[in-house]
C-alpha cells in the first residue's frame, strides 16, 4: 500500500513540476530553431508585391532566414528594431529581435543575416523573435 501511495505521490509531484515548468517557460529561442525558409530580403518582398495573400499564408508563423541590408537599426526598450532596405517607404521588412540580441555594432547599410518568425504584413512584412546569424 505504501509503495502505491509513494508512486501516486511521485506522479502528482511530476505533474505539478511539469505544470510549473510550462507556466514559467519563456518563449522558445529562435537560435535553436531551424529555418523553414531561407531567402534574400529583396526576393522575400517581391513575393508579397506579387501576391500578398499567398506570401502571407506561406510564411505565417514560419521561421525565415533573411539576408539583406539594414536601412535603420535602433534600440527601443529592451529590444532592437531593424528595418531592412526597401525602395518603397510604404513597404519593407521590419524585425524585432529577441531581448538577448545585441545589435549595437550594426548600423545602416550593413549587411545582415538573421532568423526570425513572420507575424504578418502591414506597411511591410513584420517578423519577431529575431536572432543574428552572422558577424
Amino acid at each position: 500500500m505504501k509503495k502505491i501511495l509513494g508512486i501516486v505521490f511521485l506522479l502528482i509531484l511530476a505533474v505539478v513540476a511539469y505544470g510549473v515548468f510550462k507556466y514559467y517557460q519563456p518563449p522558445a529561442d529562435t537560435a535553436n530553431k531551424n529555418a523553414d525558409y531561407t531567402v534574400d530580403a529583396d526576393a522575400f518582398l517581391v513575393e508579397f508585391s506579387s501576391d500578398e495573400t499567398k506570401a502571407n499564408t506561406k510564411y505565417m508563423d514560419q521561421i525565415v532566414e533573411l539576408h539583406g541590408k539594414i536601412q535603420s537599426v535602433e534600440k527601443q526598450g529592451e529590444t532592437y528594431l531593424v528595418q531592412l532596405s526597401s525602395e518603397n517607404p510604404m513597404s519593407g521588412i521590419a524585425i524585432e529581435f529577441q531581448p538577448d540580441q545585441d545589435l549595437s555594432q550594426y548600423s545602416a547599410k550593413d549587411d545582415i543575416a538573421l532568423r526570425a518568425r513572420y507575424t504578418g504584413y502591414l506597411m511591410g512584412a513584420a517578423l519577431v523573435e529575431g536572432v543574428i546569424i552572422n558577424k
Binding site: 507556466y23 519563456p26 519593407g92 504578418g120 513584420a126 519577431v128
Partner: protein, 179 residues
C-alpha cells in the same frame, strides 16, 4: 477585415493633396492585465500609425501575433484562446483628433481622439485621451486607456478569473516621421 487597413490607409493618405502626412512603423502598444493573482503584460513595437495633421485623422494598426510576452504559455493562450489571431490577425484603430492643434508650434497638447477600435472581429466607438507632442517639427503621441475585453467578444473562463482581468489597460506611443 483583411483589406480594411489598406482601404483606411489609402483614405488617410490619398485625400487632400496638400495635407501633411506622418507615419511610423515602430509605434509601441503595451497592454497590461492586472488581476488578483497576477499581472500579465505584453508589448508590440511594430505597430503602424499614420497621422494627417491637416484633417486630424489618425490610424493605428497592430499585428496580434507580434505581441511579445515573457512566458510562452501566456503568448499561446493570448493568440489561440483569447484574440484568436489566426482568424483576427490585426487590431485597428481609425479615428480623428477632436481638437485642432497648432502643428507649427512646439508644445504638449492634451486631446481626445474619437474613432473606432476594431479587434477580435468586434468594432466599438471609443473616445481616447491622448497627448500630442510637437518639438522642432517632430511629432510624437502617447495615450493610456482601458478596454473591457467583453466589448470585443473575448471571454475569460471562470477558472482563470483571478488571473486575467476583465479590463485591460493599453499604453501606446509613437514618434512620427514625415512621409
Amino acid at each position: 477585415m483583411k483589406y480594411l487597413f489598406t482601404a483606411a490607409f489609402s483614405l488617410v493618405f490619398l485625400s487632400g493633396a496638400f495635407a501633411q502626412k506622418f507615419y511610423t512603423k515602430q509605434a509601441s502598444i503595451k497592454f497590461e492585465s492586472e488581476a488578483p493573482m497576477e499581472t500579465i503584460s505584453a508589448i508590440n513595437q511594430q505597430a503602424v500609425s499614420v497621422l494627417d495633421s491637416e484633417t486630424g485623422e489618425m490610424q493605428w494598426s497592430a499585428l496580434v501575433k507580434s505581441f511579445r510576452f515573457d512566458k510562452a504559455l501566456m503568448q499561446e493562450h493570448f493568440n489561440e484562446n483569447y484574440l484568436e489571431s489566426d482568424d483576427y490577425p490585426k487590431a485597428i484603430f481609425t479615428g480623428r483628433l477632436a481638437e485642432n492643434i497648432s502643428w507649427q508650434t512646439d508644445g504638449q497638447y492634451e486631446v481626445l481622439v474619437r474613432g473606432t477600435l476594431d479587434m477580435h472581429g468586434e468594432q466599438n466607438e471609443v473616445e481616447i485621451p491622448a497627448t500630442i507632442y510637437v518639438r522642432d517639427g517632430v511629432i510624437s503621441a502617447s495615450s493610456a486607456f482601458a478596454v473591457q475585453v467583453a466589448d470585443y467578444g473575448i471571454k475569460i473562463p471562470k477558472v482563470v478569473k483571478d488571473n486575467v482581468s476583465e479590463q485591460v489597460k493599453i499604453y501606446v506611443q509613437a514618434q512620427y516621421q514625415a512621409l
